[in-house]
Amino acid sequence: MTTLLSFQDLRKEYFGVPAVRDLTLDIRAGDVVGVIGENGAGKSTLMNMVGGVVQPTDGEMRWQGEPYRPRSPGDATARGIAFIHQELNLFTNLTIAENIFVDQFPSRFGMIDRPAMRQRTADLLQQLALDVSPDTDVDSLAPGERQLVEIAKALHRDAELIIFDEPTTSLTPRETARLFETIERLKADGKTILYISHILGDVKRLSDAIVVLRDGELVEQGAAADFDVPAMITAMIGRALGGLYPERTSEPRDDVLFSARGLTQPGILEDVSFDIRAGEILGLFGLMGSGRSEMARIVFGLDPLERGTLALQGRPLTGGVRQRIASGLAFVTEDRRAEGLLMDAAIADNLSLVAIEEFGRTPLAFLDKTRLARRTGQMQADMLIKAGDIRTQPARALSGGNQQKVVIGKWLMRHPALFILDEPTRGVDVGAKFEIYALADRLAAAGSGVLFISSELEELTGMCDRIMVMNRGEVMGGFDRAAFSDRDILAMAFGKRVPADEVAA
């Protein structure tokens, strides 16, 4: 097979600090190449060079044997390189067809040639097995469907190389399966794929070859068959991790910390009951759309609840969000960027957000800045947040893992009794995941309860004392740690009911 894209001693420095160092690599036409590495390993920088967003400091890229020096994203598109980013570049107020043709409408007599546009779009959608009308507004499509529209756009432009950057983060399992089928089909059509993801199992499953980056260098490459997940992790972090999950350091206590009884909200939840004991990590598993996050929002007081009662430390939990925070609830939301952090505010300001009222002094509640600075500084040290000056550096400048630590630290400032962690490790690299797990263990050891919501079953079985499974807004059942079985838990998540006796024990 021929080489489609190659890098020769490629190097990129930012202010003298190398982000990619002397990288040499050939990408063969028709391969699916998995690219893995921790955050900051240089994946984004490399892709930005391929995409023409930034220019290399040194070295050379070749595209189909010719020297390739893109000056802008347009150059990359023109050569036949397409990106499917985590955040999609679609216009929600336009139709699918309009989105595909938006930069180059077919025209007849100065008007858009709608029939031609519709026909071409219908063909593309059919190729991708997306059964919707080309005139559908993108606004009304689910995330997975929108991604397929992006892929249709790439096909429309005859892309040879399609680069997927964390494409599954906002997809349901079914949408993910469909994406993988699509990728197989693209491969069968001779397209070359670069697949970047933190979900190593997916990378292994999809790829022909795997490339591992660390600290800007290519540390390993080879056929996907030669890698297994532990080997990939070792290559990424440069040492064996000694297991993916920290040892649990404590046992749940006997006293019930939190209890939910008969939570019902028409269309969302039906008769949900469960308890969490002090020092317990209760996993909540369910497919996308099972009502996991919806339940978390209801417990936290963000969404209405028609029937049912909640109690924390023996006292009923009522009122709005403010009251529930005061009672000892903390909620780490699944959307860190939009809901968990003020991205442009300083890290220290983010850390003090929840507890700020405790730092008021005098009747007018002027802030005691000294005490506040001391506490936020302490929190940074305590949480091992890797940052520069937390008083000036914005949260946006942190890696995903450190951002998540800021979110958790913000709640810790108030010493809550129950933590709801909704997908706390999403978009976080392997090393930082471990630290977040360790943190969950620390919270539990200190006597807090943790409701750990995740769509990665593996991390739940790795960390939780019990796992509760939801499906279509109902609790299907639960498992004690000794009875954890991936197969049974998954079967239950897909709707197979078992006696729910252990859950509301």
Binding site: P73, G74, T77, N89, L90, F91, T92, N93, L94, E98, V102, D103, Q104, F105, S107, G110, M111, I112, R114, P266, G267, I268, E270, G289, S290, G291, E294, R472, G473, E474
Partner: protein
């Protein structure tokens, strides 16, 4: 199910809220004063709405890109004024005068576009400055005196074609033309794309600067045309002509459903909004409400309409929320 029937009803209400409010206003005034809904008065409303309406169609283009143009009131003044000089001093006819007015508007729009697109100053500040600049230039030209147009312009302004008054005709042509441009041309669809996500539009290879320049030129050209059509009915131009009208124009566009945040609205938004404002104005006169209370009532009605619209938006949002199990 009862619940879903009610949802459907609210969905219909929400989708056509503005139109229903419009009909309600007509109905209320009509029951107060039957003459209000006579064909003669309704024609009058549309005719008088055409002035704000034509400019509001242009404003919709700008609002769609999440921009704003505060200079339209001054363009309404300066555009026809330059046309007036051409007609009085250079013997240009009425048709020629119209072309000059629109061309002058296009030049003013280009100035706005240059400052916004090339110098990258925010539209609010740019058009606030040109609001003063264009009017000031007109005051300089006329030494702040009233400008009298040749008599023939009123013959044109008060004429009608097949019984349809010329201003209404212009209004209709502009609205239909704008509708075609917005919904059927690449330029129009790219306007919507930019309003939805400007950064993504740039990444998708749309020439954002060019499209944005286009909307400001369109807006000013139509504002100048609107001014000319109204002047043609009056025959003279006072220094205060068009002053403060930018707010009527923006209110009309928003009232009709265009969003200040871009990406939402159609050419017909402007038609409905402008007609609605005019209907309220005339209705208040008809019902004989204290003259001095009328501006306040107008303000209230505009607020109510836009408020209803925001309720409608959040209602639609709720309807779109996904349920995970049958209710």
């Amino acid at each position: 199910m009862n619940g879903s029937a009610r949802d459907r009803a609210t969905a219909v209400l929400a989708r056509h809220g503005t139109l229903l409010l419009f009909l309600l206003i007509i109905f209320v005034f009509g029951t107060q004063v039957p003459a209000f809904i006579g064909p003669e008065n309704l024609g009058n409303i549309i005719k008088q709405a055409s002035f704000i309406g034509i400019a509001a169609v242009g404003m919709v283009f700008v609002l769609l890109t999440a921009g704003i143009d505060l200079s339209v009131g001054s363009v309404m003044y300066l555009g026809p004024l330059i046309a007036g000089f051409a007609m009085r001093d250079y013997g240009v006819g009425v048709a020629g005068g119209l072309v000059v007015a629109v061309a002058a508007g296009a030049v003013m729009g280009s100035i706005n576009a240059f400052l916004i697109v090339v110098l990258k100053v925010v539209p609010f500040i740019v058009t606030l400055s040109t609001l003063f600049f264009f009017r000031g230039f007109g005051a300089y030209l006329t030494s702040s005196r009233q400008f009298d147009f040749p008599e023939e312009i009123r013959t044109f302004g008060l004429s009608s074609v097949l019984g349809v008054p010329t201003p209404i005709l212009f209004f209709a042509v502009v609205a239909l033309g704008a509708h075609v441009v917005l919904s059927r041309t690449a330029f129009g669809r790219q306007v919507y794309a930019i309003g939805n996500d400007e950064a993504a539009a740039a990444k998708a290879g749309i020439r954002v600067g060019r499209v944005k320049a286009g909307v400001y030129v369109t807006c000013s050209s139509l504002a100048a045309l609107a001014g000319f059509v109204l002047i043609a009915q009056i025959g003279r131009l006072d220094t205060g002509f068009g002053e403060g009208r930018e707010f009527d124009v923006i209110a009309a566009a928003v009232l009709g459903g265009a969003s200040l945040f871009g990406g939402v609205g159609t050419a017909f938004s402007a038609v409905i909004g402008a007609t609605m404002i005019q209907a309220v104005k005339i209705g208040l006169v008809f019902t004989g409400i204290n003259l001095y209370l009328q501006p306040m009532l107008q303000g209230l009605i505009i607020f109510a309409a836009v408020f209803l619209d925001s309720l409608r938006a959040s209602r639609l949002e709720m309807l779109r929320r996904r349920f995970i199990r049958p209710r």
